[in-house]
């Protein structure tokens, strides 16, 4: 039975989240470009008074791209992929339709308040978990709704065996739920003391303990938001777009369970040479090395799926985006483990090499994969061909240039900075004042910002292409089985 004959998939929620992903992508990356330029040209801090300083904007950038752009992308693909690999339409269950819509609207409300809060400086300072307790509660509600959607759809599925992507979506759901809850254990102070701001809270954990919980969370937020759901995407969209069967079930299986098992142990690599016990640091370091393999397993599986398909890689920009994404996934999952080696971390920690690593992963892997997924979905959701292949090709090269500029400048900046902090003069005294180590980096900061700007321009091209696809492109009669139709 071909799904497309039997079923009318309902993409209304997927469409909503697609719009949200584009919106937050623009906002989050625009702010990214602004803060990147602020580091090169500090005068840019004063464009919006108190609300425009680097330090107010930085959490907005991270939250904007992670919880705005990325989560929306994940939800959009879930509401698309879920139905298809489970062979069941959301339209078959009014309940699931309501859950989906509620999920979307509550999420939008949450994100709007979150943006306002962060502009105002309301937050708890924990990286990637800045929100105060009232919003934490809303996060939980949104997450539970997503859970209903996943397990509801699974409950009424026709396809008995869960496809690989489903494994990863389920893991995302469970992982984030567990991590978020424990890292956000807070006591609202108003309810104990009866005064002060009602939304203020204080962490349940203190000092080194708090750091352990935070980086158990922080590292695995990377795992379960930047990695696991993106793998869910690539396992569906690459084979689907290319028409190639997945290279190896066994490799999928071992990579999945390996990743699940190993990832959680590696958080200690954020705390190397800190005051947490040495064995925790060492364990983080060791497991990070082991982690290369399950990470590379998925990437290799995808690259091998494309065996013999050089023609597609050349012809189809979507395949190009995805193959490139998995190579960048390999790069960043080798880079991370190497930065986890104690002696390397001694230099790399606290430097710009870390944001360099971050954006290898986020721009190359996460960004490319998410955009490719949304591109693939568009012709099927809007029943029109993709508006322009040429635009897509230029976007690819502009963004690739941007990524290369970003990471090469940050590698050089980070390593320079690390070496200068350590450097001594002929007497063995510190050779550089701190400000010396800042001013040398300005050219690299400018280069990075410009790389980021190129990436943002590419994202605008993506937005335009999607918009035209939705509104003005040629209609298609039947859904394409594989390669997405696109006008030259």
């Amino acid at each position: 039975m071909q799904a497309k004959d039997a079923l009318n998939y309902d993409y209304s929620v997927a469409k909503c989240f697609t719009y949200a992903a584009i919106l937050f992508g623009i906002v989050g990356m625009l702010i990214g470009v602004v803060i990147a330029y602020q580091m090169a040209f500090p005068e840019l801090n004063y464009l919006a008074g108190e609300y425009g300083t680097y330090s107010r904007l930085r959490p907005l950038h991270t939250s904007g791209v992670i919880f705005g752009f990325l989560l929306s992308g994940i939800f959009a693909t879930w509401y698309y992929v879920g139905q298809r690999v489970l062979k069941v339409s959301m339209a078959e269950s009014p309940f699931l339709m309501i859950v989906g819509k509620l999920h979307f609207w509550l999420y939008m409300i949450l994100m709007t308040i979150a943006v306002v809060n962060l502009f105002m400086g309301i937050g708890t300072s924990k990286e990637y978990a800045e929100l105060e307790w009232p919003l934490d509660i809303l996060v939980v509600v949104v997450w539970v709704l997503w859970g209903f959607s996943i397990f509801g759809l699974v409950g009424i599925r026709r396809e008995k065996t869960l496809y690989i992507s489903m494994w990863y979506y389920i893991a995302t759901f469970l992982g984030v739920a567990m991590l978020y809850l424990f890292n956000n254990m807070e006591v609202p102070t108003y309810f104990v003391a009866g005064m002060g701001k009602w939304y203020h809270s204080v962490s349940m954990y203190a000092g080194s303990n708090d750091a352990m919980v935070q980086w158990w969370y922080g590292h695995n937020a990377v795992a379960f938001v930047f990695t696991v759901p993106i793998i869910a995407m690539i396992y569906y969209f690459l084979p689907k777009e290319s028409g190639q069967p997945v290279f190896s079930y066994k490799l999928s299986l071992l990579s999945f369970w390996g990743l699940m098992f190993v990832y959680l142990w590696a958080g200690g690599h954020h705390l190397i040479y800190s005051t947490v016990p040495d064995w925790v640091q060492t364990m983080g370091s060791i497991f990070s090395i082991v982690l290369i393999l399950p990470s590379w397993g998925s990437a290799i599986n995808m690259l091998l799926t494309m065996k013999g398909q050089w023609g597609q890689l050349k012809e189809n920009p979507l395949v190009k985006f995805m193959v490139f994404a998995s190579t960048f996934y390999m790069l960043s999952t080798l880079e991370g483990p190497i930065q986890s080696i104690k002696s390397v971390n001694a230099l790399a920690h606290f430097t710009d090499w870390i944001p360099g690593h971050v954006h290898d992963g986020t721009l190359g892997w996460v960004g490319f994969m998410t955009m490719a997924a949304l591109y693939h979905m568009a012709p099927r959701m809007y029943k029109r061909e993709l508006y322009s292949k040429k635009l897509m090709e230029s976007q690819f090269w502009i963004q690739t240039t941007g990524i290369v500029m970003y990471f090469s400048s940050m590698w050089i900046a980070g390593i320079t900075q690390g070496m200068m902090w350590r450097a001594t003069d002929q007497f063995g005294n510190l050779a550089y004042s701190f400000i010396d180590t800042v001013t040398v980096l300005i050219p690299y900061y400018a280069l990075r910002a410009t790389g980021g700007l190129l990436y943002l321009i590419g994202f605008f091209m993506f937005t335009y292409n999607m918009y035209k696809t939705m509104t003005a492109s040629k209609a298609i009669e039947s859904e394409p089985q594989n390669a997405s139709p696109m006008a030259a």
Binding site: R56, T161, F261
Partner: protein
């Protein structure tokens, strides 16, 4: 076995959960730990310092500044003695940061002073030419939130037994008593400052954010 799990989503989910959950238990629980207890001499923050800490968090200074001195000679030469776990015993949340766009501040109270912070926060390049740190002029306008700081101090005292109101420890007392201590600590800082705006406001009984922030920075030793 695995194929069976893939057909039984409930058990699949349970399996995934077990695999990811127990790593957490093993890595986290043992460390609710001895070494995180306060070392002698570590005291909880006064209410004014806590208010300053809230300013630090509100403006995300931790986006650029760490508070963790690693045991390397290059760091102890620059910032002073390496950090000890127990020194953070009253830090909720911890503010180690993960990026040093600016220098570490763990012990900045040892080598910077009120008047210097005032120049620096108002206009960093006036003291450090080439600095890329933003100026924080709004801290000279906004009032510090003493009530919330007091609420937090009282909360941690009640809920986590943080030793306020004990011998040789900061005294909380009632809010009014606390407010008096806050004004006293603030007065010493305001006296060392130059800004007439801040001084005038203090005479009216207002404590600007900058005053609280400097109290906090000076307490970092």
């Amino acid at each position: 076995m695995f194929h069976w799990l893939e057909k039984n989503p409930f058990f699949f989910a349970v399996g995934v959960f077990l695999v990811i959950a127990y790593a957490g238990i093993v890595t986290i629980l043992p460390d609710f730990m001895e070494s995180a207890r306060p070392v002698t001499g570590t005291k909880p923050y006064t209410v004014l310092e806590l208010a300053g800490r809230h300013v630090y968090i509100k403006d995300s200074c931790n986006a650029c500044h760490s508070q963790l001195i690693r045991p390397f000679k290059s760091e102890t030469d620059r910032y002073g003695m390496y950090s000890l776990s127990g020194e953070y015993a009253y830090d909720r949340p911890f503010l180690w940061g993960s990026k040093r766009t600016g220098p570490d501040l763990m012990r900045v109270g040892n080598y910077r002073t009120t008047d210097w912070h005032e120049y620096h926060m108002l206009d960093p390049i006036s003291v450090v030419p080439g600095s890329i740190m933003p100026a924080y002029k709004h801290m000279f306008k906004n009032n510090a939130d003493i009530e919330t700081a007091y609420a937090e101090a009282l909360t941690v005292k009640k809920v986590f037994n943080v030793p306020y109101d004990q011998a040789d420890m900061p005294q909380l007392g009632t809010y009014d008593e606390s407010k008096k201590a806050v004004m006293e600590q603030a007065a010493a800082i305001v006296a060392d400052m130059k800004s007439t705006e801040v001084k005038e406001a203090f005479k009216r009984g207002e404590i600007k954010e900058i005053v609280a922030l400097i109290a906090y920075l000076n307490s970092l030793k």
